[in-house]
Amino acid sequence: MIHEDMICPFCGCLCDDLVIETKGTEVVRVDNACTLGSHKLMNAGKHRLKGPIMRDSGQWRDASYEEAIEYAAGILLDADRPLLYGWSSTQGEAQGTGVSMAELLGGVIDSTTSVCHGPSILAIQEVGHPGCTLGQVKNRADLIVYWGCNPTEAHPRHMSRYTTYADGYFLENAFRDRKLILVDVRKTETASIADEFVQVKPGGDYAVLSALRAIVRGREDVVPPTVAGVTKEQLLRVAALCKEAKFGALFFGVGLTMSPGKYKNVRNAIELVDELNRHTKFTLTPLRGHYNVYGSNEVFTWMTGYPYAVDFSRQIAFYNPGETTAVDLMARKECDAALIVASDPGAHFPKKCLEHLASIPTVLIDPMHTMTTPLVKCQIPTAVTGMDAPGTAYRMDGVPIHVKKFLDLGYPTDTEIIGKIFEKVKEVRHP
């Protein structure tokens, strides 16, 4: 069976032009997707856990969904500071139920944003977001800046769908008219097609952004001959390219958000864009990773007022990244139970955090055996949104897209499982 106009549930691009051919529960062909998306979709039905598993005196044993749900509700209800973490690779509907449950439990809910583009949001909260949709970039931008990211390998279709290789309605010869500037600490694949490759010393992004701001303001007299490994001549060239553009679009990745200075780097980038808007039109967009990490920020914000790291322990929403973020809670051993949904902290968190995670009762909701599995006491497999479950996801520019299903493997969705845990919690808290 051929499924057309399917949505790729891999990265924040949420490509919506995929063609997937299935035979029964097997995927036999995927067209239009990048390597990353194809690999995920071609293996759609493979490597799934058959049913919930629980740890019994050091050994895994099979369990029923009812037993696993009962256990999850029990540990969350018993906890003084439960943590509900993950949420970026699941449907918006599940995220909403998670927020309601966190509120009733008096827990902390955090998404993987806190370890990727959380600093971008902190910067946006300080100075605003000069953003636009990717359609605007595709049709208008004649200058693209990629800062601290490598779209060729991490968002492979970003360049062909929205920037360098895409046709633009207002550009006669988009490929030749569009200039590309890449700023990174190392020469990546993307550098080979860039008109200007700016190699910054690690940790030097803030200084380079400050120097560019000063140059755009006409104060190059104060800028020293080299800034973080970049010559003043190159900085002058980059500033001129930016000012000459009709429409510039700056995209940045975790190279900017997770290097020293974090959100101050992003704030400086926003203020550079602000400065450039005195000369031309310029926008800024974070290159979000997981396909629905932006959705978690949207859902959390419209439900709680805060985009991630929301602490309900005092029955009101409190937000303070650094205090209420998952890594900090685990490193300080604060949380005494955890529900991990659709994410893999086992592969990404510091060892100190994982040691704590392994010492407390933890339930993982994930379709496959992951690096987090060995650290938890119970795992509940669910359907994968975009494969065997439909749902809502938000693209990196904040556009909501309905993600479709093309398989039926019989697994319950994340929303159903979290909804059932929430029902059990409500039975105790609102009998």
Binding site: G107, A214, K264, S313, E323
Partner: protein
């Protein structure tokens, strides 16, 4: 004079944070019976968490002295909105100590957690040990950090010390982490030790670094040499030029990330 001694009791799980904004002379002077604190998501009576001893009486908040003993390293928000009196913490203290404090004195004999003296407006707050990140800074997205009063840290301070500083004085006798005085808009910041990348994007105020600055921001204009408080020369910069800033940054030694 009224003296209230609060001694932490043993807890089953000592890692769960306690939020105790009620540990403030203004509340404690009227009695401790109705006061509660939050241990994780559970509201507890003050005497479930602390042994409470009260001596004497007070007619004004300025006659109240509060002493905290035991392991108070996870107790947050001590002295939040404090408007008089004195709090002495004999050990370490958790985050947000002295948030929005307007008057009175807080003295911490050990180390303090993050957001020490956040958005302080007046009074004095002293830490004899090290403080965490965001000492004398603002809340997330807040444009103004500390607005008045004095913060003195005898140990080291973490990253983003005095971020968004708007008024008052911050003195760190040890070293500071990354980006002290970033987005500073007024007030005085003095660092006796070393730090990296001070005062990025500053618009007003004065920062003096008597140690060595690494990764000096490239957008400050060198004005010349001036005499420091210790009689030795300092290099005077103004900026941040990237932001049309008119702040003053005085440093003893500095190094650019070239």
């Amino acid at each position: 004079m009224m003296r209230i001694v609060l001694t932490m009791k043993e807890r089953t799980n000592p890692h769960i944070p306690i939020e105790a904004e009620k540990i403030n002379p203004a509340f404690l002077m009227w009695g401790t019976d109705d006061l509660t604190v939050w241990e994780g998501n559970k509201e507890r009576r003050l005497d479930e968490i602390f042994e409470v001893e009260v001596e004497g009486t007070a007619t004004s908040v300025n006659e109240v002295e509060v002493v905290l003993r035991g392991d108070t390293s996870r107790v947050k928000r001590i002295g939040e909105y404090m408007d008089g009196g004195r709090i002495t913490v004999e050990g370490n203290v958790g985050m947000h100590c002295g948030n929005f404090m307007a008057a009175g004195t807080i003295e911490v004999m050990g180390d303090a957690g993050g957001w020490f003296a956040r958005e302080m407006q007046g009074g004095a707050i002293i830490c004899h040990g090290d403080v965490g990140h965001y000492c004398a800074a603002g809340y997330r997205g807040e444009k103004k950090g500390m607005r008045g009063g004095k913060v003195e840290v005898f140990g080291n301070a973490g990253d983003f010390t005095a971020e968004h500083l708007f008024g008052g004085e911050v003195v760190v006798h040890g070293n500071c982490g990354d980006m002290p005085g970033v987005d500073m808009q007024g007030g005085y910041l003095t660092i006796h030790g070393d730090c990296s990348r001070p005062c990025g994007n500053m618009t007003k105020g004065k920062c003096t670094v008597l140690g060595c600055v690494s990764e000096m921001p490239p957008t400050f204009k060198k004005e010349g040499e001036v005499e420091g408080p210790d009689g030795l020369p300092l290099t005077h910069f103004t900026g941040d030029v990237a932001n049309r800033g008119k702040g003053n940054l005085l440093v003893r030694h500095y190094q650019y990330l070239e």
